[in-house]
Symmetry: C2
Subunit: 518 residues, 2 copies
């Protein structure tokens, strides 16, 4: 069977490989880079699932297909995918297409290695260290540790696991049954993401104590104090507070200085989540009935605000945190996934907590400094390279360019707020302090009827109808959700760096067009 | 500040974006696709860390850099990175470059979306379902569930979390303290990866009971029975057995039928790990002193053997598992990361276990069937698209092509074994049953000295010296490790589908050249 021929036709045939890749790259350029970013094209081509299955010919068969068929599949995949790079895609906390970051992603994919050892990832081991150092410097730390994780939720879990290990190193070997009951604290604005993590880590969702937030969505430090006392009175041991900087819906920033004071007083680990990557108009919470919904789950995406001299005051006190979870794949548009966990720790806590316990048995017979190997920092084994896309973008644009991007996003959000105020039928949920702008579109039939008993019920139906209309038309995508006692409202996110005032104007005009008969 | 101009020079400028991406893609074609896969080029260009830092100019500065500098950075990143696509890269369980898979990865990166909702990932939600269905069919299941995870370790953690939730649904809310002490079982051949997971999940490493393996590295079912009785006698509740199909070093397959019998008898969840993605010559275990090392940590990478009619008997009984973790990014060369957790369950266990608890509060006001949304299957929020690369490769090559690839890898491994036997100075660790071939190179000075007291000690030093020499020369990369009482030996992995007999011959000739003076 085995002979000196390559095993399969394209394998070991760089000429054929190159021809295929050139063709596919050409399709990507035409269909994504050009058309996908063009306002005159649709942001999505909506199909019902059953129809889409047919159109895509998804079935995997015994026989392979021709190169022409493969290229046609690539075209169809792109055609029916949502263009998250489109200037009218406002649906998530990530959007836009940063060409330097995409270039970094293409190089990453072509090199296809794992971060775990210097041996097979020399460039990326050093690069990850440099990028983490830079992010830590923005937090305000001149030393520390960190690692890139597969998303903000896992970064948050790492923080919780590190905090409990630091307090009870026994936990690693003996498990939670050997420990007293633990309690962690987060505001009602972000408790779902933290609860998912607490369940996975074996703590249970009951271990998450929910701290009250004010009208704007900010954690109330006095209530945090109260919840800590309550937990202690019930026999639990408080060990961590997870604060949120830039909640998903309202864009709220918890008061970090006051929270850090509380943590310091009680000796608690302070984690700041500036990262969250959950679906807003997504999996469960977006479907909440306005009038019965609990606070919508939210978490933070404001880390990149640290780049802005003008706005970084929103995160004042962050340097007092023990850990920070930051997702550059959102406001910095680096592409999914790019999520850093940053630590103030300099005692090798990451490796001690996540490393293989039997490491003391091992000799160091490699010919380079094995301290460079990152594999024992993580609970994963193979780990994607997530640093290059951010590094290359930063190299190209400089801190200066990224800072300008953040500042201009704030300015464009401000423009939207002013425009909203000028128009009949639009109502702000609140004055934003970040680049999330939450507002209702009040259709003609509901204007001036705010006092009527079914107003809230009727208003809650408007956003879903408009969403369906815009998606079927393909004109734009924007998320909506209820929040607390507030009916479904739209949340505009100014994250795509290519957005202009014209796109903002389009958003408002299009909502008026779509809702004029309601 | 905000005006109708794009926020940054390349933002919103598809022409400039296209020019940059064309240039970078050209570099990728020249340096990775052509040179990186050429046997006449180096597999790596070794530099000491301090020198490499200088060469790469890693520092992130305030000012951005020119396009020419950015392209030079791309060239340098590729130049000093290890070419895992090179025909003499034998160092990991993944290697080679599948052009269809790479095409899928480039399309994935350009579309940059998250798997969590049908709304923003219609194509990929349906495609993931189809790919998982196909993988399940190969396991032998006509129904079931599953999800792509960020690597095999996390897939394994999911399995453990699902098994404990199924038995004790209370655990999600009340945590492990509300449960009796739990016990899970795995062979001594894979216990490190499972132990890392047990620590993270709050169970503690003590909850992992280590079952003896035979000389070939296969779990001994009788010892599994014994360990279960022992755990029960100590008051623990057994709940899961993790079996391994294709261990990392020896390529051993646990006897699944016999293990399934034990699980059935005791009502335990059977997880089969066919996935592992750890570094072999990696983070800790590879450095073990041969004579004091415990069994090297290993886990499974044999899932793709299910594609082969000739060899799938190695996994006989896998259809009796409750869950299977499978990494197509190894033997199928799809590219990191591509790791599927497959479940036999049809009761929506994944969503019940990982979903947001408050979902009962939520209404279904989206205009499509929200059962399609996958976000509540996982503990992540944003989740990368990992299905397209495998789907596109499968479409191009057919099950037939992938099957041939697996069969030919087995045949080439057999060729290596026969060649090893013909040459003086090479000694097989054991007859392989998979595509890992483990052997010692015995240098001239040690030949015929097997009985001498320092033989083992001296032999253990040979592999590290040869490894350093090959890496500094850039001629090839192959992993080594000790195992149990066995001194450091080389482990050849036939995973790159472009490998030929000439590459195998080169491996042996090169070891002879590098070690002739030892």
């Amino acid at each position: 069977m085995a002979d000196s021929q390559p095993l399969l036709s394209l394998d070991g045939d760089p000429v054929a490989a190159e021809a295929l890749l050139q063709d596919v790259f050409g399709i990507v350029v035409d269909e994504v880079i050009r058309k996908g970013t063009s306002a005159s094209e649709k942001v999505c081509e909506w199909k019902e699932p059953e129809e889409l299955k047919q159109l895509l010919d998804l079935e995997l068969r015994h026989e392979g297909e021709s190169q022409e068929q493969i290229l046609e599949h690539c075209r169809a995949v792109i055609r029916y995918s949502v263009k998250t790079c489109h200037p009218r895609f406002f649906n998530q906390l990530f959007s836009g297409l940063d060409p330097h970051a995409l270039a970094g992603r293409i190089v990453t994919e072509s090199l296809n290695t794992s971060q775990y050892t210097y041996e097979i990832a020399p460039v990326f081991v050093l690069m990850e260290e440099e990028v983490l150092k830079k992010l830590r410097a923005l937090v305000g730390w001149s030393s520390g540790d960190g690692v890139f994780c597969p998303g903000g939720s896992i970064s948050n879990m790492y923080a919780v696991n590190l905090a409990r290990y630091q307090r009870y190193p026994d936990c690693k070997q003996r498990g939670l049954r050997a420990l007293p009951p633990l309690a962690l604290f987060t505001s009602k604005e972000c408790h779902y993401s933290i609860k998912k993590g607490a369940a996975f880590l074996g703590l249970g969702t009951d271990s998450v104590r929910v701290v009250k937030a004010d009208e704007r969505g900010k954690m109330i430090p006095e209530d945090l104090e109260r919840q800590i006392s309550l937990a202690k009175a019930e026999g639990a041991v408080p060990f961590l507070v997870s604060a949120t900087s830039g909640t998903t819906v309202l864009g709220a920033f918890d008061p970090l200085e006051a929270i850090a004071d509380v943590c310091q007083h009680h000796g608690l680990w302070l984690h700041v989540d500036v990262s969250w990557d959950g679906p807003k108009n997504g999996v469960g919470w977006a479907k909440a009935k306005a009038h019965i919904a609990p606070s919508a789950p939210q978490a933070a995406w404001g880390g990149s605000v640290l780049l802005s001299q003008t706005h970084r005051h929103l995160l004042a006190g962050i340097q007092r945190a023990d850990s920070v979870a930051w997702n550059p794949h959102k406001l910095l548009s680096t592409g999914l996934q790019c999520s850093a966990l940053l630590l103030r720790d300099t005692s090798n806590l990451l490796k001690r907590c996540h490393g293989s316990q039997a490491s003391y048995l091992f000799q160091q017979d490699k010919f380079y400094d094995v301290a460079l190997d990152t594999g024992d920092k993580v609970v994963q084994c193979g780990r994607r390279v997530d640093c290059l896309k951010l590094w290359l973008m930063w190299k190209a644009q400089g801190e200066q360019g990224l800072q300008r991007r953040v500042d201009q996003a704030f300015a464009l959000a401000r423009y939207l707020v002013e425009e909203l105020k000028k128009r009949e039928g639009f109502e702000l949920v609140m004055e934003p302090e970040f680049v999330n702008v939450c507002f209702w579109f009040v259709p003609p039939s509901l204007r001036g009827k705010k006092g009527s008993p079914d107003y809230s019920e009727r208003l809650s139906k408007v956003a879903p109808i408009l969403k369906e209309r815009m998606v079927r038309k393909g004109s734009m995508m924007i998320g909506y959700q209820p929040h607390g006692t507030r009916s479904n409202f739209f949340r505009m996110v100014v994250a795509n760096p290519a957005l202009t005032r014209a796109d903002v104007d389009f958003l408002l005009n299009e909502l008026e067009r779509l809702g004029q008969d309601l």
